[in-house]
């Protein structure tokens, strides 16, 4: 069964304190891995797609990396506005995305 697991469930950082979020997956034939950001009361906002092991994508303070079993979202020198829930997902067999439960990131000034 295809599965996505994210850790930690919650992460509290001080402004400027870099860290990483983990997304491990079990799928039969990876066809991409997606990272999203979700703010309270909003829908998920697309950040990155990674297609193959070794691939990296960057956007501002965020960098996503992919291996054969997991993906990391590295946050460098975070700011309070980076506070959100970060979701990762992989394509399922029904045309859907299979989401992890997310990591809730809080960045304190």
């Amino acid at each position: 069964e295809d599965q996505v697991t994210q850790s930690p469930e919650a992460l509290r950082l001080q402004e400027g304190e870099s860290s990483s979020l983990n997304c491990s997956y079990t799928v039969s034939g990876l066809r991409g891995l997606f990272w999203y950001r979700q703010d309270p009361g909003k829908g998920p906002e697309f950040l990155f797609t990674l297609y193959s092991a070794g691939e990296e994508k960057e956007k501002e303070r965020l960098k996503a990396t992919l291996t054969k079993k997991e993906s990391f979202l590295h946050i460098t020198a975070p700011k309070p506005e980076d506070s959100a829930t970060y979701l990762c997902a992989v394509p399922g067999s029904q045309g859907n995305l299979i989401f992890g439960k997310g990591t809730k990131l809080s960045v304190k000034p």
């Binding site: 997606f34 829908g43 029904q94 859907n96 299979i98 439960k101």
Partner: protein, 117 residues
């Protein structure tokens, strides 16, 4: 705007009533998806459309749930005889292409928050 639009943004109704949720996808996106997000839970896939067709309806929680899409654009999700466990945020997404081999990112609306009293 150019994003996925959902209406209403909030809906409060009494148990047993029917509700209809609407999704207007990004122009040109052929695929449309419905998900449900309950408090503290992950996103639960409900159904997807390629054009006006829904190849697999097995993700719908019960036969009280139905969905349709017309003109390859707007979709409605209908819940009949609502129950309290139907309370959740219903999210719609759209993408270029679809199908189980698709790797196109899905773009989400802000959802309809449904509360059943």
């Amino acid at each position: 705007g150019a994003g996925v639009s959902q209406s209403p943004s909030n809906k409060v109704t009494e148990k047993g009533k029917d509700v209809e949720l609407r999704c207007d996808p990004i122009s040109g996106h052929t695929a449309l998806y419905w998900y449900r997000q309950s408090l503290g839970q992950g996103l639960e896939f409900l159904i997807y459309f390629q054009g006006n067709s829904a190849p697999d309806k097995s993700g719908l929680p019960s036969d009280r749930f139905s969905a349709e899409r017309t003109g390859g654009s707007v979709s409605t999700l209908t819940i009949q005889r609502t129950q309290q466990e139907d309370s959740a945020v219903y999210l719609c997404a759209s993408s270029h292409g679809s199908g189980f081999r698709s790797n196109q990112p899905q773009h989400f609306g802000d959802g309809t928050r449904l509360s059943i009293l």
